[in-house]
Amino acid sequence: MSTLTKKKSHEPLVHLVKRGSLPSWAAWLIRLAAIAVGFTFCGLVAYLLIAEGPKKPDSLGEFFGKFFTSFYDGSFKLNAAAARRYNRIWEFLRDMAILQCISLAVTPAFRMRFWNIGAEGQTLIGTLAAIAAAFYLGGKVPEGLLLVIMLLAALLAAGVWAVIPSLFKAQWNTNETLFTLMMNYVAIYVVDFFLKIWVPTDSSLDALPHGKLPVIGNNYLFIVLVVAAVTLVTFVYLKFTKHGYEISVVGESVRTAQYSGINVKKVIIRTMLVSGLICGVAGFLFAGKDNTITTTSIGGLGFTAIIVSWMGYFNPLMMLFSSALVTVLQRGRVTQTFGVKGAYEDVFVGVVLFFVIACEFFIQYKVVLRKRHHADGKEAAK
């Protein structure tokens, strides 16, 4: 055999290798680690931000102690007066329930690969319809009936709002992402329009005396129960009904759906209607909880819901965990504890979610560093 000389250049420093199937406990471990890394990263940034400020902690250890406690405090703190402690956990559950509800709304559409990012507007328009019902009919009909009318109005309005983009998608294959996004802004201006009619001189609408959600034990349990029911129904709908099956098939491949005789247009429109109806429920809850409306009533939860749904793998039960996590992040009290700007909390949520989503890459791939040089290359080649 001819002589073989040694190579000149090096092999690449890192290369990526696709993993086989990772056991699910390992995948979850990676996800947990990602959350931890995300927290730590944000903590470090916060530490640097406040390093020169008045609330400067003595050491990094002390800082992280306070940092993590602030999240615990925000959602679960128990050492305040008895009544307050109770409320804090209930408030956490309520916030989580409302986020979960909107996340459930986007999930059927997402499972169909219909990127509905208009939950914000759909919920807002539902809230508007419910508030309108309370505004015009409050006091004229019994409270129980008023609540029913508010719910129906919210369902109708949000349903219509969601179906409009789906009609265009089904008929002309318009881009649903842009369409649903733009519908959010339309919804905001519709709310603005009605506020100008209802309170021409004032800047905001005072809380209406009618149309309050029923009190079961406390102000929060009703919302939690409603959302628990919606979660269960959505889970069954997606997993055990023919509609749910059709949604999955259309989401995977439109061609397969056509091949098996599924009417794709019908499924798209129907599924967006379902999405809209769940947004309607959320809108009703907002209306009954706040008894007023502003253009920012939903507070961006319609967008946060997208992430919750993704992180829960579009599974209504798994989404309970992701909505809990996101709620903990949002209720954290980093701002109060360290005196950083309020916007920091939004950044924080974003960064942690980034880590959680990015870790999926490491579940799929393994990073291999360059091994030692092949000193034995010549021998191996013989």
Partner: protein
Amino acid sequence: MDNKIALSMRNVTKRFGKVVANRNVNLDVYQGEILAVLGENGCGKTTLMNMIAGIYFPDEGQIYKDGQEVVIRSPKDAFALKIGMIHQHFKLVDLFTASENIVLGVDEDGRYNLKNVNSQVSQIAEKYGFHIDPKKKVYDMSVSEKQTVEIIKVLYRGADLLILDEPTAVLTPQEIERLFNVLRRMKEDGKSIIIITHKLHEVLSISDRVAILRKGEHIATVNTCDATESSLTEMMVGKKVSLDIARSQPVNPQARLLVKGLNCKNAEGVQILKDVSFTANSGEILGIAGIAGSGQKELLEAIAGLQLLDSGEITFVNPKKDKPVTFFHKSLRRVKELDAQGSFHDPEGKPISFKGMKNSQIRKLVAADKVLFREDEVMSLRGRTPLEIRSLGVRLSFVPEDRLGMGLVGSMGITDNMMLRSYRKGPAGFLSRKKPKELAEEIIRELEVATPGINTPVRRLSGGNVQKVLVGREIAFAPKVLMAAYPVRGLDINSSYTIYNLLNKQKENGVAVIFVGEDLDVLLALCDRIMVINSGRVTGFVDARTTTKEEVGLLMTQTDRPAQEENE
């Protein structure tokens, strides 16, 4: 030829997750030889070649080019080492001419001198016997011409080691012969050529040596002159395989599906089927031969109700049989149509007519299972959706070319994939997974589907097992007409023969089988009749038992001959 080694691989290993694509492969390529790399699908041939071409990087092992250990990190490195690969899927810019594609990506200072390039391209073409027009745009080219551009592209860059990944898969017999002549000339010129293929007779006719891979390992390299088809197969599969397809004579063939004057356009508005007419008979396998993309896909989809037609008729003929009317009581219009033909009678055979009855009365009678009808002779399928075709009682099964993109749902398990056809049955609203699960278990058992579990996403199964699931489901539907598009593409030899046997069994059961294939040897061995299409036009019908590959190849490429009427 002298014995200088152009390229050698030593202990090369590549893993994808737990799957070992190549394990400790040692391979030598001499200068001025044609080495065939042979192996079943999934044995790691392409992965191995991709490591030489710089697309993958080996996990372990070394590669030597002309005696020097080299590290190939990218296709660019490979080019610098004079290694060029012609991929199975061409990588050309449609809007550019041949020459423009050839110089694309070549580092040259300033502007490209296209005139210069044109003449160089012509020189290379002349030297090796290619036919090429350097100024022709790629979108005007046939598959064979595009391949020529790819080959000249690597020659232009000075490659002395060429790797061709399944170059013959898309060519007609005549084009293959022309390609082989070119390859022989390159060999005489001192170039080394590695050719990947799984067609044994091609290996025997073109190569000097054959390297056989099995499950990622290099089994042996033999001199072609010492090899036979059966010895190669045995090494590839690891055991003796019978390469005969048991073909029976059609029993009592009767027209089952009549297609007349079909014209249709694809999504871009290009006429894709031109006046296609044929008849598929029961108890017979009708092969459809043609270069890929000649309208085979559109033809089958048109029959299945997935393609809009401009004109033409598709008629399904059912054997006469008494049946309850229940399965189409949804379509009153259809019931009335049949009533006008006097098709209905009661279980004793007395004729029934619905004339003058109210719709609700008709519905009641039909729903009571008391009305039978003599299934009418012909049903038009034209303009009907797949669901309508099914509710007419037409048992038409379709194994589409795109298994995971059309026939199955990749992310679902076998049970849920069984439901694609049947999920509408059962209690209103909710899915019933009991029967689909039984069917799934039966298919796993009967067809020996290798799967970790009944709910493992079918995407994770190997190509052969995916196809077994799909064909199994379509056959379980007890079809009268079974259409299969490229059903063995990407399957190993054993799985391929399983599929051939399944199709043959269906034929013996009296099913009209339509088989779209690409391997002419298989078409000739499996089918009873072969219809050849070219650019959407039928160019001829041949008897598969008497025709030759050359005859079919000619029909595949000629365009001027008008469509032949079938003689029945």
